[in-house]
């Protein structure tokens, strides 16, 4: 990977990677750190990263960094950073189901939320997500199903909400 190839990766994936980290951690500073660290590792390991696998590599690094942060810093415990991603249930001003879903996604467990974002935001297959997260494909499917079922239960009766 040349410097130009790397810069192309920055242009193509930095926004998505930042969104992934920001939605997961709900802290813009931490999300920026995740992005910077991910791209730094991509650059340092550019010789080993296969062509076409740059995005998966970046999200793999970011996912692991996020999980580490969740495990050791308890980022998902209630804290003062919640204002960055306000609980949309309290707003009760939804205009469509997409906003409702986005509001409830933040309430999901960290792993479920990350997998949902990798699946829905980035469009990865279950197999790709399994490779990135070091989970089995079955585990990925189960986590995602639980996440969707939880979201569906939270949304409740759609007709009552809209």
């Amino acid at each position: 990977m040349t410097a130009s190839d790397y810069d192309v990766c920055v242009a193509k994936y930095s926004d998505n990677l930042y969104r992934f980290a920001l939605k997961s951690l709900r802290d813009s500073d931490l999300a920026k750190d995740i992005v910077q660290e991910s791209f730094l590792r991509l650059w340092e390991n550019r010789a080993a990263v296969l062509e076409g696998k740059e995005k998966s590599y970046l999200f793999t690094i970011a996912y692991r960094l996020i999980i580490d942060d969740v495990r050791f810093a308890k980022r998902y415990a209630p804290n003062d950073n919640l204002h960055l991603m306000p609980d949309r249930r309290e707003q009760r001003e939804y205009t469509n189901l997409s906003e409702i879903v986005l509001g409830y996604i933040d309430q999901l467990p960290a792993r479920q939320k990350n997998l949902i974002m990798l699946r829905d935001y980035e469009g990865y297959s279950y197999r790709e997500i399994a490779e990135m997260t070091s989970l089995t494909e079955t585990q990925v499917k189960v986590y995602i199903f639980r996440a969707r079922a939880s979201l569906r239960a939270s949304i409740g009766e759609i007709d009552k909400l809209l």
Binding site: K32, S98, R152
Partner: protein
């Protein structure tokens, strides 16, 4: 995928997404339906998801600091900026040095070109014409100095220093020359008559100093005492560089200026020494002048 394990309430989740997304093979789908028929809670959950499957729609988020991540695109402008900065710094140093060592316009103001030299526009003034063998015709449109606006502070300072210089020169000549030396008269220098008339009322200058300052190999300079106010104001208007005499010897003209340039060349060399590490600097010194020539000061490129 063919289901080998029996679908139960404990493991149905691993097939649920494939069932909902329609990717489950027919045999497995039938087995899953059979399970749902036996588990109302799971069936209710699956039916609800079939009615509406929550999918997160991507939000547009912009990473605010892409520049810090870039490698090639970030480095190249910095290198270019560094090169341009070095070039600009070198050019500024060279320009400043050249302006410093370049002799003032005074030495070029000979009798031939004095009339055509640019000067501040004055108010209405009567043309004064004087003829000499060196300058057949010279028309000057300056008004008498009494009517001219007061010289600026810088011009006054320059004028004062020149006067002091001339006074010292006069004392030296008084020591060297005899009492019988012929005294020049205004009529011997018709070219400068108008200037003398203009300056006579403002200050008294010894007649012995009213002789032209000779410049080797060139035309005759206007007498310093007579042209000082005009030149000072002219030079000030042209924003010329610093111009100071340090000793009476320097009034000799061009030769002394060359010495001054050579003396300042040492400082110039020290100033350009850092530039020489970037680009070759060629020093030259001829009878016409001295200076530096920078072969190439700016190089723009990128590292492959």
């Amino acid at each position: 995928m063919t289901t080998i394990m029996k679908i139960t309430a404990d493991n149905y989740e691993q097939w649920a997404m494939d069932y909902l997304e329609g990717t489950l093979p027919r045999a497995d789908r039938e087995a899953f339906d059979a399970f749902l028929a036996t588990d109302p809670r799971a069936a209710s959950e699956i039916r609800a998801l079939e009615a509406y499957l929550p999918v997160a729609e991507a939000e547009a988020v912009i990473y605010p600091d892409k520049e810090s991540l870039l490698r090639r695109s970030r480095v190249t402008p910095l290198r270019r900026l560094a090169s341009l900065s070095a070039g600009a710094a070198a050019a500024a140093v060279v320009l400043g040095a050249l302006l410093w060592i370049t002799p003032s316009k005074q030495k070029n103001l000979t009798a031939e070109n004095y009339a055509s030299a640019p000067r501040p526009v004055r108010e209405k003034a009567a043309p004064v014409t004087a003829k000499t063998p060196e300058a057949p015709e010279a028309t000057v449109t300056e008004a008498p100095l009494q009517a001219a606006p007061p010289a600026s502070e810088r011009a006054q300072q320059w004028n004062r220093k020149t006067s002091e210089l001339l006074a010292r020169l006069e004392r030296r000549r008084n020591r060297q020359e005899t009492q019988s030396a012929p005294e020049r008269t205004v009529s011997q220098e018709p070219l400068f008559a108008f200037v003398r008339e203009a300056t006579a009322a403002t200050r008294e200058v010894p007649e012995s100093l009213r002789q032209p300052i000779a410049k080797p190999g060139s035309g005759t300079l206007l007498p310093a005492d007579a042209t000082t106010p005009i030149l000072a104001e002219y030079l000030h208007s042209q924003e010329s560089g610093p111009w100071e005499y340090e000793s009476p010897e320097n009034t000799a003209g061009w030769a002394s200026e060359s010495r001054s340039a050579r003396r300042e060349g040492g400082l110039l060399r020290s100033l350009l020494n850092p530039i020489e590490k970037i680009s070759p600097v060629k020093y030259y010194e001829t009878e016409e002048g001295s200076g530096v020539e920078i072969i190439s000061i700016i190089r723009i490129g990128s590292k492959n």
